[in-house]
């Protein structure tokens, strides 16, 4: 079986007597965009710093493309590219000189053409020979992606990569990531923005207070949502009658929104039944609106559940 691009096992980090990261494990496959989602201070950056060996691990293992980072550090690191927190460069050198600098540190030689190709990919051709101190944050983000990609890594790790990008930039960035993933590169991004993770990732985990509390894939997400209640709005000819009819079915949590519309919480599969019941009793239904539960609701729901559990 092919190796995962990245596998972390039971990562933990203790500082003082505080467990900042507590037994986090996950795997990322090649060609997959993986999200590390969590509120501020959850421990995302700490996890990333441990993966790239900037800080010591209190416990746990890291494998990059199957290579154990402890037993074969150089080989493992040569298959990884990253931006940790903000993209920092030597401001007194040009973007190009910065890239050359990192290119020299690759174990496999990097050609001139490769650098040019990457510069083109991140769309910095016009500014690459300017000193980095003249760059905007968005340009530095892109240069950061460029230095992470230079040496054809199996995985790139980007900590809050859309920081400082404008909406247009974020859109392009998303497309870039997708292109990279299609070429078989795995991508790990961290974010505290659900909408971002939802749009970019194939799969994500939620980190809360250093623990991995939820893991799901965006597309399989529907299964999870099946059992959950969601808001359904029926537009009917008479709210009063409809509410009475529903009471007969012992459904009482119905809200009258207006003379022509009612709202109730239903699991997905109940909607059709309710519809049939109303129609059978000669209610004219002109519209049924199901509000889709977004990741955001789930995120808040999940983190709140954790909170409640912690209180108990």
């Amino acid at each position: 079986m092919a190796n995962s691009a990245l596998e972390v096992q039971a990562l933990s980090k203790r500082i003082g007597n505080k467990l900042i990261v507590d037994g986090v494990s996950f795997q990322i496959q090649k060609g997959e965009i993986f999200g590390l989602l969590g509120p501020n201070g959850a421990g995302k950056t700490t996890i990333i710093r441990m993966i790239v060996s900037l800080i010591n691990r209190t416990g746990g293992k890291v494998f990059i493309d199957g290579t154990d980072i402890d037993s074969n550090f150089s080989e493992a690191m040569n298959k990884l590219g990253a931006i940790v927190e903000n993209p920092e460069f030597y401001k007194y050198m040009t973007g190009y000189q910065n890239l050359k600098h990192y290119a020299r540190m690759s174990l496999s030689p990097i050609s001139q053409e490769r650098i040019d190709e990457i510069v083109k990919l991140v769309d910095l051709e016009n500014a690459i020979h300017q000193k980095v101190k003249t760059y905007s944050l968005g340009m530095r983000q892109r240069l950061g992606v460029a230095q992470a990609l230079l040496h054809n890594p199996s995985i790139i790790i980007l900590d809050e990569p859309t920081n400082g990008l404008d909406p247009q930039g974020i859109r392009e960035f998303r497309q870039h990531l997708r292109t990279l993933a299609d070429q078989g590169i795995a991508v790990l991004i961290s974010s505290h923005l659900l909408s971002e993770i939802e749009l970019m990732c194939d799969r994500y985990v939620i980190i809360e207070k250093g623990k991995l509390i939820h893991s799901a894939s965006i597309h399989e997400g529907n299964d999870v949502e099946q059992e959950q209640l969601r808001e359904v709005i029926f537009t009917v000819n008479s709210s009063e009658t409809a509410i009475k009819l529903l009471k007969n079915l012992s459904i009482s949590n119905v809200v009258k929104k207006s003379e022509q519309s009612i709202m109730l919480m239903l699991p997905y599969e109940e909607i059709a039944k309710i519809n049939a019941h109303l129609v059978k009793n000669e209610i004219a239904i002109s519209e049924i609106t199901v509000t889709r539960k977004t990741l955001e609701d789930r995120f808040i729901e999940i983190t709140n559940q954790q909170e409640e559990m912690a209180v108990k």
Binding site: I55, A76, M77, N86, E88, Y90, Q97, M105
Partner: protein
């Protein structure tokens, strides 16, 4: 490893200040040469007057390039040390300060290798300053005072003891140059250690200059302390400057061999502290 050193070398010279220090040294050399030349004209003038009295024949106290190297150029080496301390401290602490250390350490090289490449590069720069100083000193000295004078006999010593010895201008210079090197490297190493430990450039430069200052200006106090406390001679300060041994073989009961050995011990200690702490540290810049 060569690639790493090359990277560090390029980064050093990507900063304008690295050229400025070299240029400053040349400027100091010119100023020194002018001043030295003036000084000899004054003294020379006075001597001719004496000679005109007929009471004594004019002594040919003509300065030579070697004489210039021994006095002015060796005096300017303090600036080599100063500039080295600044560049060494800046080299490490700027990586922490700018956060570039993170991007530097996520490469396929062990941390100690990356640190060692920095260590080599800054010491190379330091040597470049020194060699630049001597080379330009020689050229400027030759222009002002003419070549030659290498074999001129001079008498040194009597500074710390009554013993005097005879040597040549050239011999004296070469010996001083060689005796200067260990101190330079050790002070660089101290600055390197401080900036790695504290990540703070101001602190590293400050302490570096303090060490420099203390070892070159407080020798009187050292003599006093050395008289009183035997253990004082095992400290680093009285041993940092080997060039004093070019005047006298024993200074305060210490010899060049003794001081050099003490330096080596401190050197090894500092290197171990620097590399060990860097290898272990959590990089949170």
């Amino acid at each position: 490893m060569i690639k790493l050193i090359k990277n560090e070398w390029i980064k050093i010279f990507a900063r304008k200040s690295s050229y400025v220090y070299l240029i400053l040294l040349v400027v100091f050399l010119f100023i020194g040469a002018f001043a030295y030349d003036k000084l000899f004209h004054v003294i020379g003038g006075a001597m001719t007057e004496v000679a005109a009295d007929g009471s004594s024949t004019a002594t040919e106290e003509q300065p030579s390039v070697w004489n210039f190297l021994n006095t002015v150029v060796l005096g300017i080496t303090s600036f080599v040390t100063l500039f080295s301390v600044i560049v060494v401290s800046q080299n490490i602490s700027a990586e922490f300060g700018d956060g570039t250390i993170k991007q530097l350490l996520i490469r396929p090289y062990k941390r100690w290798k990356i640190l060692l490449s920095k260590y080599f590069a800054v010491n190379l720069y330091s040597l470049l300053l020194l060699i630049g100083l001597v080379a330009f000193g020689f050229i400027i000295g030759s222009i002002f005072f003419g070549t030659g004078g290498f074999h001129k006999e001079i008498v040194t010593g009597g500074l710390f003891s009554d013993a005097v010895k005879t040597t040549t201008e050239g011999g004296q210079f070469i010996q001083t140059f060689i005796y200067y090197l260990p101190g330079l490297i050790l002070i660089n190493t101290i600055s390197f250690m401080l900036s790695t430990l504290f990540k703070n450039q101001a602190l590293a430069v400050g302490v570096g200059i303090f060490v420099l200052f203390i070892s070159s200006t407080l020798s009187g106090i050292f003599t006093m302390l050395l008289d009183r406390y035997e253990w004082f001679k095992y400290l680093i300060f009285p041993n940092l400057d080997l060039t004093i041994y070019t005047y006298d073989d024993t200074v305060n009961g210490m010899t060049v061999g003794f001081s050099f050995t003490v330096m080596v011990v401190y050197y090894l200690l500092f290197m171990i502290i620097t590399f060990y702490s860097f290898q272990k540290r959590d990089i949170v810049a």
